[in-house]
Structure formats: structure tokens, C-alpha cells
């Protein structure tokens, strides 16, 4: 694992700030055409989760990489729905995402402590990384749910995202966005910039599919805006990923050929 270009604190700060700002603008403005901002927030949150997975899984958690991604969204969906429900209960919609985030951070810290202290995995960064992963999970789910529903209101989200079942693709794509970047780059020559640019591209795929779902839910134009912006982000970051693969593979990036000399 190479030296990180971005520190954990920088990635977390960007993920939480951009994530929350995107969700709030999309949720409070009430303008469906701004719903895509919640998706952009969720992409940054995906990156924050992927970086945390990268740090914790570099301690040799090989087959646990997918499990940890699913764990993130498992913790995230409970906290997200709890937060939004609290917002509705106290008739203050705007506290929903913050309450959800705080609850997720607490759940993540507790799960991390249990893993380290009770199961005795003894990985130094476990508590911090699971806290970040849970935070990323809640922001990803809230972000994409708000993008699809165009609102932060719990009743609207339940009616338009959960009851219709659109939560299923959001849930699984959100989880893959967090776990796939590091899982797809597993190996001793993994680099942080390649993993993180891949996280953006996975988040953008989730944004595109979320945009498709929001065509049926809020407004065709709002959905198409999300799809087009998502596709643009995906294209740019996917090409960036391929460029970094070329850089990291060096002379090993070949069109075709036999096995390398000395390998037979």
C-alpha cells in the first residue's frame, strides 16, 4: 500500500461536508431539478466509505471486504430511516440527516469496539474505520433516497422509495460503491488515487440508476438531469481509472501476448 495522497481527515471532511450540503440543498429547496445535488453528495460519501474500507482491509481482511461493505449499508439504512423518522416526529424535517449521521457514527463506533475488544481482532484503526464506514453508509442511503424522492420528508421517502422497492437497487449499488473500489484493486501494488477515483465512478453508476428510478417518482426532467450528470462523472472517472491502471501496470499493460519471460 502506497503513501496516501489524501489523508483520512481530508477524505472524511469532504465526504461529510459535501454529503450533507448536497442532501440539504436537494431536500430543502423543494426544486426537483436540484435533486441531483444529493447524488453528488452521496458520491463523496461513497469515496469516504471506500477510503475507510481501504485502510481497515489492508490489515489482511481479504474475503471480509464485501462483508464490510454490506455491513456499512446495513448500519446505514437503520440510522437513515431512524433519523428521517425523528425529523418527522418532531416536525423538523431538517434535523433528519444530522440525527441519522450521529446515530450511525455511534453504531459504527460500538460495532468497531465490539470487534476489537470482544472478538479481539486487534486492528488499530478498526473503531475509527467502522465509524467512518457507518457514516458513509448513512450519507449514501440518505443522499440517493433524497435524490430519487426529491424530498427529505420521511412520509414521501417511505411512499416513493421504500414501498415502491426502489430502495433495493440503491441499497445494493451503494454497498458495492463502498466495497468494490478496494476489492477490485486488492493486491500489494494498490494505490490510493486509483482506488478513490474508482469510488467516484462506482458512486456515479449508483447516481445514474437512481436517476432512472426518479423518472418514475418525481419528474422525468429531474431524472434525466441526474442521469446525464451521473454519466458524465462516470465517464470522466472511469477513463481516469483506466489511465491510472496504465500508470500502475507500466510495461505490463499489453494488448496481447504470452506469459511474461521466465514465468513458464
Amino acid at each position: 500500500m502506497s503513501e496516501p495522497a489524501e489523508t483520512a481527515n481530508q477524505v472524511d471532511a469532504k465526504g461529510i461536508v459535501v454529503g450533507l450540503v448536497g442532501i440539504y440543498i436537494a431536500g430543502i429547496s423543494g426544486i426537483p431539478y436540484l435533486a441531483f445535488l444529493a447524488g453528488i453528495g452521496a458520491i463523496f460519501a461513497t469515496k469516504m466509505g471506500a477510503d475507510a474500507v481501504r485502510r481497515v482491509c489492508s490489515y489482511g481482511i481479504g474475503t471480509g471486504v464485501p462483508s464490510i461493505g454490506m455491513l456499512a449499508l446495513g448500519m446505514g439504512i437503520i440510522a437513515a430511516m431512524f433519523g428521517l423518522a425523528i425529523g418527522k416526529m418532531y416536525k423538523a424535517v431538517f434535523i433528519g440527516p444530522i440525527v441519522g449521521l450521529v446515530l450511525a457514527l455511534v453504531i459504527g463506533f460500538v460495532v468497531g469496539s465490539l470487534t476489537n475488544k470482544v472478538i479481539k481482532l486487534n486492528i488499530p484503526v478498526m473503531e475509527r474505520c467502522l465509524t467512518e464506514i457507518a457514516g458513509a453508509g448513512v450519507l449514501v442511503l440518505t443522499g440517493f433516497s433524497v435524490m430519487v424522492a426529491g424530498s427529505m420528508d420521511f412520509t414521501v421517502i417511505v411512499e416513493k422509495v421504500i414501498t415502491t422497492g426502489y430502495i433495493a437497487p440503491i441499497f445494493i449499488l451503494g454497498a458495492l460503491g463502498i466495497l468494490h473500489p478496494f476489492n477490485a484493486s486488492l493486491g500489494p501494488d494498490e494505490t490510493q488515487d486509483r482506488t478513490l477515483v474508482h469510488a467516484y465512478s462506482c458512486g456515479a453508476i449508483a447516481m445514474v440508476i437512481g436517476g432512472v428510478c426518479s423518472i418514475a417518482v418525481i419528474d422525468p426532467i429531474a431524472g434525466i438531469i441526474s442521469i446525464v450528470i451521473g454519466l458524465a462523472i462516470w465517464y470522466a472517472t472511469f477513463m481516469g481509472f483506466v489511465r491510472l491502471v496504465k500508470r500502475d501496470a507500466g510495461a505490463g499493460y499489453v494488448g496481447t501476448g504470452l506469459l511474461p519471460p521466465g514465468a513458464m
Binding site: 441499497f171 445494493i172 477490485a184 493486491g187 418514475a216 422525468p220 483506466v242 494488448g255 514465468a263
Partner: protein
């Protein structure tokens, strides 16, 4: 609903599930996902760089759940917003899911091989091009069948399951991935890779990674593995998943209430006893490894 109609739907779902199971297993075999992946990932590190597709998209259950949930989500958008015919909508949904399969497979192959540069593992673009369309094609078939059977299960005029359409598809996607991973992949991960070892010989650590090197003729490719697994591993996954879908829906369609629960328990019990008998029969017939002289029950 008439009983004949109900049984017809159950049979249709079972048939779709059989095809889905088979194509799911072959898709994962071409990409060496799940069970055999650890050997493929390990091979370069023990000095055996290879030309096998390394498709690490999480485990099979989450990745298939993703294709099926996305396929069903897109199909539902088309049905709800433009009133598309269900068959066309499911076909388009499965196509979108196959595209996602292509993107995730590409990034997994490129990323994993680029992360093993120090072991002389190359990123072969022809390996990527040759396998990618087969992967996407098989993923399309799987998604189409699963989303189709989920639609039959969800639609209120047909079976009328209370869960939303994409959630049913996601659950069946998880199921087909889990069954492919536990049934068919064993044929690749255990049988194909170690077919020249004697029964009960175990795997010497020094033989790790050997499995990626030679096929019947020349260097082994992922297509050779699909050819091998399509003879047994794929169909057996199809039968396993088809039976799961068929027997589960059959008992709840033909019976109701507690009778259905009792019939379900009886089926599970019968299968457990049958499996145990096959296992003991195989161990007795093919015996312990010839050079083994211990007295532990084989």
C-alpha cells in the same frame, strides 16, 4: 386463481430459475469469481502469472443481487412511467444490468492485475475483450430469467407476493448467487482445478497456483473453464436453483397453512437424508487415498 393456472406459473418459474442458475454459474466460472478466485488471485504471488479473468465483484450473492435489483428497478420504471409491455421492460432492465456487469468486470480485471505488477502479472487487453461479452451475455440471461420470475411472483393477478418487485428480484438474486457459489463453483474450484489429484489426497501448498497454467491444450483460458463447467457444474446449479424455486412455490400453491409448513419440512428432511447417503456412498466407493493407512473413518 385456478389450480391448473397456479401450477403452470410455478412450473414456468421453476424453468426460468433452472436457466438462470445455469447461466449464473457459467458467468462466475468465466470470471473465476468466488470459490476459485482465491487460487487465481494467489497464483501470481507464488510465481505463476496467468491469463485467467480475475472478476472480483464482491461475492456472487451481492453481485447477482445488484444485477437483478437494477434490472427490476429499470423494468418497473418503464412499466410505471411509459406503460411499457412487461416483457420488453424486463428485457431492457436485463440489458442495463448486463452493462453494469461489463463495467464492474472491467474494473475488477484491470484493478486486480495492476495491483500485482510486482509479481509480473500483466493486464492483457485481449483477455478482457475475449471474455467480457460472454460474461455480459450470461449475466443478461440470468437477470432476464430472475427478473421475469420475480415479476410473475409480484404481479397481483398472478402470484401476488406482498413485497415490492425490485426487492423480490434482489432476494432471488442473492439466492441464485448463493446457490451458484456453493453448488456449481465447487465443480470449478475443486474439480477443475485439482482433477489430476487422487481422491482424498488433499492439496499440497506447493501446488497452489498451478491451476491457472495448463489446460487440455496450451495455456489455460477462462473459456476452457466455462467449457468444462458447462458439462456438470452449470447444469447442476440450474437444477439446484430450479428445484429451490419450484419446490418452495409448489408447496405453498398446492397446500396452505400449516400443511404447507409440514410439507416444506418433510422436503428439507428428505433432502438432508438423501445428501448424507450420497456422501457416504461416494466415500466408500472411491475410498480413502490409496497410500493412506490410518484407521480413521473415511
Amino acid at each position: 386463481m385456478e389450480p391448473a393456472m397456479g401450477m403452470g406459473l410455478v412450473a414456468l418459474m421453476g424453468a426460468a430459475a433452472t436457466v438462470a442458475g445455469c447461466s449464473e454459474d457459467l458467468e462466475s466460472d468465466i470470471g473465476s469469481q468466488s470459490n476459485p478466485n482465491s487460487q487465481v488471485q494467489l497464483a501470481a504471488q507464488v510465481g505463476y502469472p496467468h491469463r485467467i479473468f480475475n472478476k472480483a465483484i464482491s461475492g456472487e450473492p451481492p453481485s447477482n443481487a445488484m444485477y437483478c435489483a437494477v434490472g427490476a428497478g429499470v423494468a418497473m420504471v418503464l412499466i410505471q412511467s411509459v406503460n411499457a409491455s412487461p416483457l420488453l421492460a424486463i428485457a431492457i432492465g436485463a440489458f442495463v444490468a448486463a452493462l453494469l456487469n461489463g463495467v464492474f468486470s472491467t474494473t475488477a480485471y484491470m484493478g486486480r492485475n495492476a495491483s500485482q505488477t510486482r509479481f509480473n502479472q500483466y493486464v492483457y487487453l485481449d483477455v478482457l475483450r475475449n471474455q467480457l461479452l460472454s460474461l455480459m451475455g450470461h449475466a443478461y440471461i440470468t437477470t432476464f430469467c430472475i427478473v421475469g420470475l420475480s415479476y410473475v411472483m409480484w404481479h397481483h393477478d398472478l402470484i401476488g407476493h406482498p413485497f415490492p418487485f425490485p426487492v423480490i428480484a434482489m432476494i432471488w438474486g442473492l439466492a441464485v448467487g448463493a446457490i451458484g457459489s456453493s453448488t456449481g463453483d465447487v465443480h470449478y474450484g475443486a474439480e477443475r482445478e485439482f482433477q489430476d489429484f487422487k481422491f482424498g489426497a488433499g492439496l499440497n501448498a506447493a501446488d497452489s497456483g498451478n491451476i491457472t497454467r495448463f489446460a487440455e491444450a496450451g495455456i489455460r483460458s477462462s473459456m476452457d473453464n466455462a467449457w468444462f463447467c458447462s458439462k456438470f457444474g452449470g447444469p447442476v446449479t440450474g437444477i439446484a436453483f430450479g428445484m429451490t424455486v419450484f419446490l418452495d412455490n409448489w408447496r405453498s400453491t398446492a397446500f396452505s397453512g400449516w400443511t404447507a409448513v409440514v410439507v416444506g419440512s418433510a422436503i428439507v428432511l428428505a433432502l438432508i437424508i438423501y445428501n448424507r447417503q450420497i456422501e457416504t456412498y461416494a466415500r466408500k466407493k472411491y475410498g480413502p487415498y490409496p497410500e493412506y493407512a490410518g484407521d480413521i473413518e473415511a
